[in-house]
């Protein structure tokens, strides 16, 4: 620590060059922060933090195929199943196909299994008592300026009503919140009563999209899943039961291998960054050969010189990287407030900072290694004689 002044002075010996290099480092870590935010968002979509005790039962053929409602009574009897509910994808469109958000018909007890969604008691009661009632997430309500009492028409894409009409109108009776920031994206949805849906739809009456099971003991999840699937084995509606988390991971991975794309980009970025800062450090040491020789002459050991140069390159990376990540944090926040939580970007949090800091340290040591060892091995006589 006592040499910080010396390292600092050496770093800013040539201001222009150091500032340009810092800006390059900044750009690299800005990109790292942004991409890591996207990657984390996709990873978080695959993990439902609050839902370790929930299982999802869907048709084994694929989750678009519906299951008979008669399974309800039989699944409920499987030992270890504490609560059971069901839902159906609706896929309605609000005004324009571009305004995509999830909308589903849910059974009366659905919200009991999702304690992470907070809905005031009176609104919950209103939802239960209003046949055409719907609840929406706070973010979604803000996005379209909906408030309690509004009537929202959705255009059906899959389920026309019995008369052939495609327009379903719902009354907003509740607005729920999700306080866990990692699950904020779940506020982008609209839910309405399954009973109304089942009664009014043209076809498919008596079937449900998927079942959600709450199990008493998550450690028993595998056994329970196998027992549920055994109920329908060899029937014409075989099921596949898995944890909500496994279901989400599989679904998200269908979009793209985000990890691979982000990894490949960051590989290219950091490869060029190593070259760039490595060149700067090499130049910096080359220019200072005689200074280093003087340091050694007045008693600095070989290892102190090694440490000084390494500290300089690590400091360079830490300075640029920290500012870059901070800028990334600001940009991500700005994008999230502008576009809402639907944009797949997680806030730049502690985990990203830890990964970023490890990268800064690692790259700092790598690019400092060659110049530092050159400084260490320097012979005073040769260096002072400019040989």
């Amino acid at each position: 620590m006592k040499y910080l002044h010396l390292v600092w002075a050496a770093l800013f010996r040539r201001k222009t060059r150091t500032v340009f290099t810092l800006l390059s480092v900044l750009a690299a870590f800005l990109l790292f922060g942004l991409l890591d935010s996207v990657r984390s968002a996709f990873a978080a979509a695959g993990q439902s933090v609050a839902g370790v005790d929930r299982l999802v039962t869907v048709s084994k053929i694929s989750f678009i195929v519906s299951l008979p409602k008669s399974l309800y009574g039989r699944i409920q009897l499987v030992p270890g199943v504490r609560q059971l509910t069901y839902a159906n994808w609706f896929g309605g469109i609000y005004q324009d196909p571009k305004n995509f958000f999830a909308n589903e018909a849910i059974a009366g007890n659905f919200l009991d299994l999702y304690p992470e969604w907070q809905l005031p008691d009176d609104e919950r009661k209103a939802f239960r008592n209003t046949r055409t009632g719907a609840i929406v997430g706070r973010s979604l309500a803000d996005k379209y300026h909906w408030k309690l009492g509004d009537k929202i028409p959705l255009q059906a894409t899959i389920f026309p009503q019995k008369g052939g009409s495609n327009t379903w109108t719902f009354d907003i009776v509740g607005i729920y919140r999700v306080t866990n920031p990692k699950l904020k994206a779940q506020e982008e949805a609209l839910f309405f009563n399954w009973d109304y849906f089942d009664e009014a739809r043209q076809f498919g009456t008596g079937t449900v999209g998927w079942y959600i099971l709450k199990v008493a003991d998550p450690a028993q999840a595998d056994r329970i899943a196998a027992a549920v699937d055994a109920l329908s084995v060899n029937s014409d509606h075989e099921t596949k039961t898995q944890t909500e988390q496994a279901f989400r991971v599989a679904f998200v991975s269908q979009f793209a291998d985000i990890g691979l794309i982000v990894g490949a980009i960051m590989g290219a970025v950091f490869f060029t960054l190593v070259l760039l800062t490595g060149n700067t450090m090499a130049q910096a040491v080359r220019e200072r050969i005689s200074e280093i020789a003087i340091l050694k002459t007045i008693g600095f050991s070989n290892h102190s010189v090694l440490g000084l140069v390494l500290a300089e390159s690590v400091l360079l990376l830490l300075l640029g990287g920290a500012v870059g990540l901070a800028v990334a944090g600001v940009v991500v926040e700005a994008v999230r407030t502008a576009m809402g939580p639907a944009i797949p970007m997680a806030p730049v949090g502690g985990a990203t900072w830890v990964r970023g800091a490890a990268l800064m340290l690692g790259i700092g040591l790598v690019v400092g290694a060659v110049p530092a060892s050159r400084g260490m091995r320097l012979r005073i006589v040769d260096a002072l004689a400019n040989r």
Partner: protein
């Protein structure tokens, strides 16, 4: 005070020049750049300052090997930017091309009103029959209308890459499907036999999913299906698995309903009449789109997303690389300060020196751009990937590194080189001769 005003004025002038130059570069077609290049060559060869610039540039280029590590920073930095840009844009271009090739103006897809995608749509048997009786539909050699009623469903199968379940589109088809899509050819095995539980798989689907090779069996709802052939259509149908529509319908308990009817019109101009005929029929409530419009809509969102993403990532990387180039060229100019001062002392003007340094940087930048574009092409041209399409199933597509993309990458390289070289060049030209001569 005046000192500051001059500085601000200089900075503003530089910004205007840079923005103008980048704008010209970004918007200009290739022939304009060729023209500029020809003009530059003529200036270098034909005029006195041009010849001066040429000789200074030659010395600069000749000394690049002595400054190899720092010069390679420019090359590799720009190669990284161009490589990432080209690879990302090639992903978007490949997806777009796959979907766009699938559509044409004389084939039309009919779905239930409001359905948006085939998967959402349901048409009962009577509706499908009424649609196929429209007069504007072309007849095949046997005199039957070329109208294919198809049933699109999805099945969940493990992917080769990670073993996780993903959706594959299963398309139940009849005889007419081959007439509507004459580009579909069997490349391995044979066609499925109507009435049997046999499947043929698209080339793309076979590549992405485990257990879709000829001869393998898969279980759908407790029934065993055999894969008997592989087909190649060159478009998005390559992501499909095809089977007999009646048998697929019975497996998925769809009765006699289908999801869409695709027809071939007598010619593209008949579309309006066809659409009007269906709209005026009180028995029908359907949406009618040319397949070109249908597939264009599907590719729009993702393609735009990738374009924004690719440009943003490349722009941030470009800023980083630009500072790298600035560092390198400042160092190069500093190392040659004495030589440049000598040239100026014996009568070379500032302009040729600026041009020479710029030429040297742009040369390094073009090398880097070409390297990055080449690596992106070598690694990613025809690289296959898949994503979730609008039918809730995997759409397989190949990255497409087109000449236009390579050219685009090269333009970025030139832009980075221009900005990275301009300021060092100006410094070289403006340094007082006396100071330069004293430099060690």
């Amino acid at each position: 005070m005046r000192h500051w005003l001059v500085k601000i004025g200089n900075a503003a002038a530089a910004a205007v020049i840079i923005i103008a130059a980048l704008g010209i570069l970004a918007l200009s077609p290739w022939w304009l750049l060729i023209l500029l290049l020809a003009g530059l060559a003529a200036w270098l060869a034909g005029t006195r300052p041009g010849r001066q610039a040429w000789s200074v540039a030659r010395v600069g280029v000749a000394t690049i090997p002595q400054r190899l590590p720092s010069s390679s920073v420019v090359v590799f930095g720009i190669a990284g930017v161009v490589g990432v840009l080209v690879a990302l844009l090639a992903m978007g271009a490949g997806f777009e091309a796959t979907l766009k090739q699938s559509g044409s103006d004389d084939t039309v897809i009919v779905m239930r009103g409001g359905a948006q995608t085939e998967l959402n749509s349901v048409l009962d048997h009577d509706t499908a029959v009424v649609i196929s009786q429209a007069q504007q539909i072309k007849k095949n050699d046997h005199g039957d209308p070329i109208a294919s009623a198809e049933l699109v469903v999805v099945a969940s199968l493990p992917k080769k890459s990670n073993g996780l379940d993903a959706n594959v589109e299963i398309r139940g088809v009849g005889d007419r499907a081959w007439d509507v899509r004459p580009n579909v050819r069997i490349i391995d095995g044979r066609r499925f036999t109507p009435g049997l539980r046999e499947l043929i798989v698209g080339k793309g689907a076979r590549g992405q999913f485990a257990s879709l090779d000829v001869g393998s069996t898969l279980k759908l709802n407790g029934q065993l299906w055999t894969v008997v052939g592989v087909f190649d259509s060159g478009d998005t149908n390559n992501s499909d698995v095809w089977g007999d529509s009646d048998i697929v319908a019975s497996t998925y308990r769809r009765g006699s309903s289908t999801t869409s009817v695709t027809v071939r019109l007598t010619d593209a101009a008949a579309f309006d009449a066809f659409k009007a005929a269906l709209a005026s029929d009180p028995r029908l409530k359907v949406d009618v789109k040319t397949t070109r419009a249908y597939y264009n809509e599907q590719s729009e969102n993702l393609t735009r997303l990738i374009r924004i993403l690719g440009t943003t990532v490349a722009a941030i990387m470009a800023v980083g690389a630009m500072f790298g180039a600035l560092n390198t060229m400042y160092a190069a100019v500093a190392a040659r300060a004495r030589e440049i001062a000598t040239l100026r002392a014996i009568g070379f003007r500032g302009g040729p020196v600026v041009v020479a340094v710029l030429l040297e940087t742009m040369l390094l930048a073009v090398l880097g751009g070409a390297l990055g574009a080449f690596v992106a092409w070598a690694l990613f041209d025809n690289y296959t990937a898949s994503t979730l399409g609008s039918n809730f199933s995997q759409v397989v597509f190949a990255f497409h590194v087109s000449p236009a993309l390579l050219w685009n990458g090269l333009k970025w390289a030139l832009a980075i080189g221009f900005v990275g070289g301009l300021f060092p060049a100006i410094r070289a030209a403006r340094q007082p001769v006396t100071v330069g001569l004293r430099e060690l």
